[in-house]
């Protein structure tokens, strides 16, 4: 049997420091290392939360910037559309639908039998519509060419609808009723 007391007494100088070192290590682990590990895990969670918040904030910032850019781009494009594509006044709208339509009809041997025009404001939008009703007479092929020229031309004229009529008696010309529109931005104060 090992005489523990004697062994301890005889090796006190070695056993006590080693035992103290062991105990101190256990105390250090419980008091310092483990809580530090917990704090690191918490810091990790805080960092993850902060990273996802940062991502959300970046998206928010990008969305706001995109909204601003989109507004500016749309505004610029709209201004260019109003200035470069659409007629800039009632007079200009009238010119492209009155003189040029008459010239186009004449060019395609169509007889201009009626034309009426009326501006129509849109309270919800910035554009005023000039609605034109026109009646032309001629043969079908010329009507087709006229329509092609009208829709492929540079002027912003929209064909809203068309009505074709032909008298049943032989040789009667085809009657084309066109409902057209063009749009313009009224000048300020107009």
């Amino acid at each position: 049997m090992i005489p523990f007391k004697r062994v301890f007494d005889e090796n006190r100088g070695l056993v006590i420091p080693v035992a103290a070192a062991l105990v101190l290590n256990v105390i250090a682990y419980v008091a310092i290392v483990y809580p530090l590990g917990v704090r690191v895990r918490n810091a990790g969670r805080r960092e993850e939360t902060a990273a996802s918040e940062l991502l959300a904030a970046q998206r928010d910032d990008q969305a706001s910037a995109a909204m601003l850019q989109g507004r500016d781009r749309t505004d610029t494009a709209l201004k260019a559309f109003y200035k470069d594509v659409l007629p800039n006044s009632l007079a200009s709208a009238n010119r492209i639908t009155y003189l040029r339509l008459a010239q186009l009809a004449e060019q395609h041997h169509l007889r201009y039998s009626h034309r009426s025009a009326e501006p129509e404001t849109n309270p919800q939008g910035p554009l005023t519509r000039l609605r034109i009703t026109t009646v032309l007479e001629g043969d079908y092929q010329n009507v087709r060419r006229f329509i092609y020229q009208l829709e492929s031309g540079p002027d912003f004229i929209v064909i809203d609808s068309m009505t074709l009529n032909q008298d049943p008696e032989a040789g009667a010309p085809l009657q084309l009723s066109l409902s057209l529109s063009t749009f313009y931005q009224p000048e300020h104060g107009a």
Binding site: R6, L14, A19, L36, G37, R71, D75
Partner: protein, 184 residues
């Protein structure tokens, strides 16, 4: 056999005791190294994580504040007006791009001899689809039906139907035909 130990200082294996103490001492050294390493590593990691979290929180605050200041410069009424104007412009451009020539070409290839188109009106729906309403005159219902079948068969139209039909005094059928136009 004599079993009693008569020595005043009985023998025990000192080497084994020293070895055991040395082993425990080694464990203590390893534990000390482990604890010290953990303390250093964990402290650095904590400091690093806290620093990154603080930086991210700070940056997030700045970005949110920047986003809020950007949004403040946007007038909602002005934005609505621009959106409305853009929608209107897109609808107008869509109408302007509608090709009547293409529509007439396709109708010519589908129109039976005894059917005549008297009126046409395209309508741009909210989803961008184009519905064409046509006034058609023919002698017989069969001809009208063939016309509608032809429109769908050549892929020009879908969902074609006769919305209304009346007979005239001279025996003709007057129909209003509606269908979803499928431009090329």
């Amino acid at each position: 056999m004599l079993r009693t130990n008569l020595s005043t200082k009985p023998f025990y294996n000192e080497r084994a005791v020293h070895s055991a103490v040395a082993l425990v001492g080694l464990v203590a050294v390893v534990l000390t190294l482990f604890n010290v390493t953990q303390i250093v590593l964990l402290s650095r990691r904590q400091s690093d994580l806290n620093g990154r979290a603080a930086a991210a929180e700070q940056q997030a605050r700045q970005l949110r504040s920047h986003a809020a200041s950007l949004r403040k410069t946007i007038d909602p009424k002005q934005l609505d007006a621009i959106s409305g104007a853009a929608r209107e412009a897109n609808v107008l451009i869509g109408q302007r791009l509608f090709s009547w020539t293409d529509l007439l070409n396709r109708l010519e290839t589908t129109l039976p001899d005894d059917v005549r188109i008297t009126a046409m009106r395209p309508r741009v729906e909210k989803d961008g689809a184009v519905t064409v309403v046509m006034g058609v005159v023919g002698r017989r219902v069969e001809d009208m039906d063939r016309f509608m079948a032809n429109l769908e068969a050549n892929g020009s139209f879908a969902d074609v139907y006769a919305r209304e039909e009346n007979g005239t005094q001279d025996g003709l059928r007057l129909a209003t035909i509606e269908g979803r136009y499928l431009p090329k």
